[in-house]
Symmetry: C2
Subunit: 174 residues, 2 copies
């Protein structure tokens, strides 16, 4: 399983929290790493690194100057899914998409029209306007967890113990 | 079906985009309305109203001063689910939860500890830190769409036509 989430056109001030949520969702639902274009953002990288450090696994995040080279290179060995409200319902193509070597592209404010041609799939999670964060969550959940592949969060410093009426967190001895 | 999403502790400047995404996800995945506490935010209400106006359906958003009265009142006729990374996996309780008269509470920065006691269910979507937006998306998708109940977006001004390699939007004659 190798799934990488690529967030386009990140603007550190305006997108700070949304991009953070995109990558936290990516990690929680089983992606192995993230890429982002737009403006380099050290704080974002630090924030995501800290969560991965505390809660385990090996999610890594890198900056890419442009999107086109990344997509072209990826297509030599894997497939590219672009999440967009204009795409075909994900339920219709889900059976063709595997977790083998998958790049999931998530747009920013302005998505280049070329991307719609370059992506192997333009896929929608409902054809309603909502959020790249919820679209990514639902898509990945359906792909990874729906597929019964449980992400593995090894070497975490903390572990949450499910609790029906409060908070329980365990500090791990690693 | 009556599902309302209640966002706690909204801070207009800091949470502007995240709260917007919470309610857009709520609407897209079939909730009939939203409530929020924290600070009153006219722009938020206008933004959500505009999307509902353009893309149909009857999603409505209201401000509530406090959370406790809302939860107590709701429990007289319906059930309250609190989404939290500390809760029990949603898959474990999903069969008990119906869409009849459901309040889904989504925390803000600081969630009052009383809420964990007052909610009928504290439910997690993975026990990993991610995003209230993706948690809500996955939970609602599983509850509503997974249940094959398709939200109905009547009287929309625009309709997106799924397109495998571009953007298509139709202006409706209403």
């Amino acid at each position: 399983m190798n799934i990488v989430v690529f967030r386009l056109g990140h603007r550190p001030f305006r997108d700070k929290r949304i991009t953070t949520h995109v990558f936290l969702a990516a990690r929680a639902f089983g992606a192995s790493g993230g890429l982002y274009s737009g403006d380099k953002d050290f704080e974002l990288e630090e924030r995501i690194g800290k969560v991965a450090d505390n809660f385990g696994g090996s999610f890594s995040l890198s900056y890419e100057k442009g999107w086109k080279g990344v997509v072209e290179k990826w297509k030599k060995t894997g497939r590219v899914v672009h999440l967009t409200m204009y795409g075909v319902p994900f339920e219709d193509v889900m059976s063709e998409i595997t977790t083998d070597n998958l790049l999931i592209v998530v747009g920013g404010e302005k998505v280049p029209s070329e991307l719609y041609k370059d992506a192997d799939y333009n896929v929608s999670v409902t054809n309603q306007p909502h959020s790249e964060v919820s679209a990514l969550g639902v898509f990945l959940h359906s792909l990874v967890r729906g597929g019964k592949v449980k992400p593995n969060f090894q070497n975490s410093k903390f572990k949450i113990i499910p609790n029906p009426s409060g908070k329980s967190m365990k500090e791990m001895n690693i």
